[in-house]
Symmetry: C2
Subunit: 456 residues, 2 copies
């Protein structure tokens, strides 16, 4: 294992340079104009897998963006680790807030700034470099498979079909995902859960054309005002979500679990200061970590309607829109919540407007039991390289495909993420600390080692 | 007067062609990229004035867009009519809803479709053609001055200074404005009032950067949600405006006035059908015509925040914005209401966000007394050319500069508008009926005639 470390130390600058090149590809899955960039990025991943020692590296077409599959089968008697990651990234908007181009990676203060730096190019790429390390040193504790998709940021619409149709190809013992954060390098942690997601878009139509707000104002329902009223009604005065049935299936955390969560280092004052807000906000009766970890939420992701340009226009618009997503916890069903949301918005449509709600994408919540072999292997790996036992925490984000993996492949998932909450995922100036990148590459082979040990 | 009519009949096709050429100039005052178009349009107006027989036609620079002044002084003993109009137009957005280019005038079914066709190029241009008519026929009942500005659609920020500094130049007996609508060619009407306006923009800032809605969602106030709550609180369940003090200075119309208003032909079912809405909306206790004429209103003109592109993005945005305007009735003060609005939005800012409200522009309400000489001249002119007496109505729109005119120049304003409510002002597919254009050109010299008669 010392050999792994020496190899990595000798090559780490090249590893970083390779990541920088990968980050230059604007693989934005949500935007159709990036279709060719998506393909270019898939091909780059394929090449990296081959160069790192994979026996097989293939691109599978889908009705959307391609999936990259790779494998290094050492010995059929060894356990197999399936690495899942995604090469697509969020749109970089708002572009004007980036200090440097989102696809022109910049290194400053030990961090690499670029869209996808942490989510998820910088993280899945650590696994390719871990493969290279084990390949170069000739020591493979496990077989390895890679499933790197291009549609995670748009809800993985084609991955389920691929998984269902390729069960033999994907056959493994555990799924390892690096697409989450840890508390810090000093306080390592492991996400034991990800939230589910329901994402809808609401369209409110008032008059059949934009109107002069002086001539018609006051006599016709304004779709922006009506949309605002609907949004405002989604949270009550305690910031509970008011949609009927929304909390019905939520598994409440026990007092013991909540007490354990409260042990994780957290300072609301620091948290607020980092975000530049004078006060935090959230559901009454829950702490910040609980609000982002064990409670479902409803957030407005976008809103638009009427005149949004420079200056002023006295228009009473025909339409207004909102993008709205909820994060779900065990045992909520994304499908059921999406139906509830759509039904709710259509049913509360004020007189004088027509409301149409449609589904964007969704995903189920997922939990890794801390008494599982999979969790313990990750715990030992992190302890080995960080020098301290990681804290189990509940992550706020979503990896829509997790529940399906467990269902179709019958195996457990472990989240071994090396990002930080401050990495500006989905925001301008996304970054990944270079030390975290290197620490991840160092830790991954240990996971393979301990997982093989524990499986014996 | 028969001579006027013959001249107009002989030249009406050229009049229309000239209007079409004027409509080709994209004179959008709100957009800085149209600065050169604005100047080109001012020059075109200047040339038209000269060609129509004006003794003087000048362009006055302002810190914003230029003002065109023209005059035909026939005899100092005659009364002087000052025509006010504006050559600037509203932005054409949303462009995609236009059936033909907003600046590529199209004639269909007796209507001319283009941005500015009715508001106000098509209307002020009638006065230039009326000047030409009187000039060609050598019969001028009054002197004529023209004040055609380029900033009406953005609140006339530089006109007040111009008026204050040029009182001698603008000295007149009456101001005649064609920038309003009539009920129909069959039911002519005269607007006896325009509403005032207060227009503000609200900026809501939550966290100091866009955040991942999974990682932070539920723990930080979402600026879109907070903005929606503020907007939703602006109207109560009876659609009264809830801003404290908003109605304080409203002069309530008498039962007699309301009874007279109710005589104007109006059908709510037809009105709703034309707009494509199942139900109308508005302040409880008032009819549609009252809601748009004698009552103040608050409308959302635009809203935006977060991700508004294709697909989905799970962002909790840093900022959200709204453009909000109110229409005011006598005796409300635009300045006072703007202050109330700004103060209100800043004071109701929910914890966790910062709200900044700024003024866009405003204007005072204005009323023309129906027993005034000015109104009577317009009434007689319309009766002469339409064959029936016009109905006095209260218009919903605003002409911000009216109150200032009266204050600075000490003269009355009369609104002789030839548009229709269905002209799609400020909306896609703005149009002006060619018959209305011709009828306006025919009627205007009659106004000069009757005004001179009544002034004797």
């Amino acid at each position: 294992m010392e050999q792994w470390k020496s190899y990595q130390k000798a090559h780490q600058e090249r590893f970083l340079q390779e990541l920088i090149d990968l980050l230059r590809i604007p693989s934005v899955s949500a935007r159709s104009e990036h279709k060719n960039d998506m393909l270019a990025c898939a091909k780059a991943v394929q090449t990296h897998l081959t160069n790192a020692g994979a026996d097989k590296a293939e691109i599978f077409e889908t009705p959307g963006h391609p999936i990259v599959f790779g494998e290094k089968m050492v010995d059929a008697s060894l356990p197999t680790v399936l690495v899942y990651g995604h090469y697509d990234v969020q749109p970089p908007d708002p572009i004007e807030l980036w200090k440097s181009g989102p696809f022109e990676p910049r290194i400053e203060d030990g961090k690499i700034f670029a869209r996808g730096a942490c989510d998820d190019k910088g993280q899945f790429f650590m696994h390719i470099k871990a493969l290279e390390t084990m390949h170069a040193c000739g020591t493979f504790p496990c077989n390895i498979k890679f499933l790197i998709e291009g549609e995670e940021e748009v809800g993985s619409p084609n991955l389920a079909t691929f998984v269902k149709n390729n069960q033999a190809l994907l056959k493994s013992d555990v799924i390892l995902i690096s697409d989450t954060a840890m508390l810090s390098l000093e306080t390592p942690s492991i996400d034991i859960g990800v939230r589910g997601l329901s994402y809808i878009e609401v369209e409110v139509t008032g008059p059949n054309r934009d109107l002069h707000s002086g001539v018609y104002g006051g006599a016709v329902a304004n779709p922006i005002t009506m949309l605002a009223k609907m949004i405002a009604s989604c949270h009550d005065e305690n910031n509970h979500i008011t949609i009927p049935g929304f909390y019905d299936d939520v598994v409440e955390s026990s007092a013991a679990e909540r007490a354990k969560m409260a042990e994780a280092p957290h300072d609301d004052t620091e948290y607020a200061k980092d975000l530049g807000v004078k006060a935090l906000w959230g559901e009454k009766g829950y702490s910040t970590n609980e609000r982002t970890g064990i409670r479902p939420t409803l957030e407005l992701n976008g809103i638009w309607g009427g005149y949004i340009g420079e200056g002023s226009k006295t228009v009473l618009p025909s339409k207004a829109y909102a993008k709205i997503s909820t994060r779900l916890v065990p045992n909520q069903s994304s499908k059921k919540i999406t139906e509830l949301l759509i039904q709710h918005f259509e049913s509360i449509a004020p007189e004088g407007v027509i409301v149409k709600a449609t589904e964007h994408h969704g995903g189920e919540p997922y939990m890794t039991p801390i008494d599982s072999l999979e969790y313990q292997a990750a715990e030992k790996a992190i302890e080995a390289t960080f020098g301290k036992k990681p804290i189990p925490v509940r992550g706020g984000g979503s990896i829509p495909i997790c529940a399906l993996f467990e269902q179709e492949l019958g195996i457990k998932i472990v989240f071994m993420g090396f990002g930080l909450d401050s990495d500006n995922l989905h925001s301008p100036n996304e970054k990944y600390d270079i030390q975290n990148f290197y620490k991840g590459i160092e830790t991954i082979p240990y996971f393979h080692h301990f997982y093989a040990e524990l499986k014996k």
